[in-house]
Symmetry: C2
Subunit: 144 residues, 2 copies
């Protein structure tokens, strides 16, 4: 986690971008709540609760930047806003979203990469990334 923040510094410096207090706070918040798949509003609320007041504009600017330089990835769970998580290298990584309680589970299945690679090849696409959301009902919710 501390190492991640240091890496953030390196990545920023290597691009002549500044390592500011706000960027550190925002990035740390994403790391600290990796389970939660935070959205911009939630990041704002959590920082505020800790007495760190950061303007929403700064949060959105930082998030966009983090995504652009590959520190964070932007994910969509079928809502009207995006969520953000630390960029994960794991192969075949995606999310299972419960339609009842909203819970989000991560998964990683190496078979995905193979299938997606061949889909790309079949369509003459140079692949960059993919985004897979699986919707259903989680263990607890499917009972009811």
């Amino acid at each position: 986690m501390k190492a991640d923040v240091e890496r953030m510094g390196e990545v920023l410096r290597s691009r002549n971008l500044k390592v500011t207090k706000m960027r550190r706070l925002i990035f740390e918040e994403i790391l600290a709540s990796s389970e939660a798949h935070l959205d911009a509003g939630e990041i704002h609320a959590r920082l505020r609760r800790k007495g760190k007041s950061v303007s929403v504009a700064t949060i959105y600017r930082a998030l966009r930047l983090f995504v652009r330089i590959g520190l964070v990835s932007q994910v969509d769970f079928g809502e009207s806003h995006s969520h953000y998580e630390r960029e994960i290298a794991k192969a075949g990584h995606g999310h299972l979203i419960c339609l009842a309680c909203g819970r989000v589970l991560e998964f990683a299945d190496e078979r995905m990469d193979g299938v997606i690679g061949s889909i790309g090849k079949a369509n003459a696409f140079a692949l960059d990334k993919f985004s897979l959301q699986i919707f259903g009902y989680c263990r607890d919710c499917k009972k009811t």
Copy 2:
């Protein structure tokens, strides 16, 4: 296509919903431009161009309804708004999105369903649907 519109009528009637002129126009527009993966604004613009003025509220209400009753599916290409396409039964259906020109290609790969089914099982999820977007550069754009 005409058959599809009739099916729309049946589905609506079976739920005591009304088969209105506006709903027909909106649904026909989605069918007619199935390649285009229209968004709400585009549907509004196309209908207006044809001299059919439909309020945006009606378009959004119809789209939400169509999605709810399974006539249309809502897809997300990483933009700030949704696109809509006729609900497609094809197994393992997803989209390839070109990061340069924005072109959207559909694909269907039966292997996907197997992989996704086993991911669901492994996580005790009762699957409902999935959404897969693959981002990259299309044949034309990857050259440059």
